[in-house]
């Protein structure tokens, strides 16, 4: 994990968050909001966007200010920065979309405790230039948002037969209530991870197969 002098490409930094280092599926970070507010796609997206704003904002600030933050109190300062952004998000949501704010409830303040955000500050933003830090944050936050959306839509589709509140299968659909209950969250995310692992494994196997075939030819 040493800082290498190699040139780092901002685009790569952004893309890695989407799949290879996906914060949810690979790093298993930010599980609390991931499960708590994904009972509908819209909540998931709202939460994802809030997290996005906080992560990108604080990465920008931390990266810009890193020279002036003494190492010993860096964590405290990061927390203060993050908490400030979260408070801002909290009030803005409350003022603009009170209905969604009510649904997300206590989980907006809890963004502060999302280990993804503090983790990125400590591991990335505090060491790299602003541009890279922001791209990294955008990538990670987008990866998080996508994962939230995936889980939220699965749970909403099965749990209510709807997506974004629009009924998909007609009135007669039997909703799978468990999907919007806590156990459903755990089990669905578990199964999604399983799927993610399976796809990864198939991909590996495929690559190995191709390599084998090429070696055979040679």
């Amino acid at each position: 994990m040493a800082i290498s002098s190699k040139k780092m490409n901002p685009y790569d930094e952004m893309m890695k968050g989407l799949w290879r280092d996906n914060p949810v599926f690979v790093q298993v970070l930010g599980m609390c909001p991931m499960l708590a507010v994904t009972n509908s796609a819209i909540n998931a997206i709202a939460m994802g966007l809030a997290t996005f704003f906080v992560l990108v904002g604080s990465s920008f600030l931390v990266s810009s200010l890193k020279r002036w933050i003494p190492k010993q109190v860096r964590i405290s300062v990061y927390i203060v920065i993050i908490a400030t952004f979260v408070t801002v998000v909290d009030y803005v949501l409350l003022a603009t979309v009170p209905a969604i704010h009510k649904e997300l409830g206590a989980f907006i303040p809890l963004i502060v405790a999302n280990c993804l955000i503090l983790g990125r500050q400590e591991a990335f933003a505090s060491r790299y230039p602003v541009k890279l830090a922001v791209m990294d944050a955008i990538g990670m936050a987008t990866g998080f948002l996508l994962a939230m959306f995936a889980l939220g839509s699965v749970r909403e589709i099965l749990g209510e037969g709807k997506l974004f509140g629009v009924s998909l299968f007609g009135d007669n659909f039997e909703p799978w209530v468990i999907m919007i209950l806590p156990p459903g969250g755990f089990i669905t995310l578990g199964l999604l991870l399983l799927l993610f692992n399976w796809v990864g494994e198939r991909k590996q196997a495929f690559i190995a197969q191709v390599a084998e075939a090429e070696r055979g030819k040679a």
Binding site: F169, N172, F173, E174, V177, I178, L181, G184, I187
Partner: protein
Amino acid sequence: MSKQDPKLLLQPAPLLRQGMTTPAAMRDVWLALLPATAAALWYFGLAALLVLVASIAGSVLTEWAFTPKERRAITLRDNSAALTGLLLGLTLPPALPLWMAFVGGAVAIGIGKLIWGGLGANIFNPALVGRAFLLATFPIAMTSWTVQQGPAEFFTVHASNLTAPFMQAPVMDTLSAATPLGQMKFEQSATPLWDLLIGNTAGSIGETSALLLLLGGIYLFLRRDLDWRIPVGIFASAALFSAILYGVDAERYPSALFTLLSGGMLLGALFMATDPVTSPVTPKGAWVFAIGVGFLVVLIRVFGGFPEGMMYAILLMNAATPLIDRWTQPRVFGRNKGGSA
């Protein structure tokens, strides 16, 4: 050297084995469940049979689909997947849409058993995982009970049974009935014990007939397929707890006998809690487990939100089983309780 000899086998001692095998034990459970299943068909007709078939199909197909080819033959031969399906089916209401029973069977095997690594590795009772999933997923369908029709109307199948997959079951107020536990909880009216004993009540397919379930349990006990401590412990602790409550307020709380004979108590205590895989293996642990189940059943039935608590009680104690096992190791010969010599 001794080339002229037959090449000898080196199979470690002991060479002698007793006769029982694991598939045979599973067959015993099937046999033990037969009378109660037959009674269910008598009371609930073809509908019950269809639900049972659907849940068994869900279990067996899932087991087949997710088991590596080379192990399929063995895992299906041990009868355990079908048994899980049957046990699940017996806990379902007779009018349940068949597709739900199928989903239940699939979940029971998939999440309840296969992800743990198959037979013997699971911590939770698979049939009950399936049922808990169904109850949380389709709460209305899972609590719509029907009155018994008797053998005269054997061939009637409920409209709700035949609901298309993923669709809602039609409301069926005409046939609906409350279970004895539901009546107890919400109306404080106790069903006569005789009706509970012979099974003349509404309820899950397999839980109604107390007498025949007991018969099956006795058979299993005689075949040494169940740990007698578990049912005895459950009955004793549940009876004691509810007797105390009954003593406090006989109007509000059910009597001990009612507690023992109603709902899934017998089916659960004799066939679910005794599942060896998910209950403690140590004798002392079996007692702890059983007393825990008995206590939780009454707690949930009397003070909780659900009229029936057997399933949750067993699942909760299943979760505690690894801990119970660890803390109740038997006293080793020649050692004191602490394990020192």
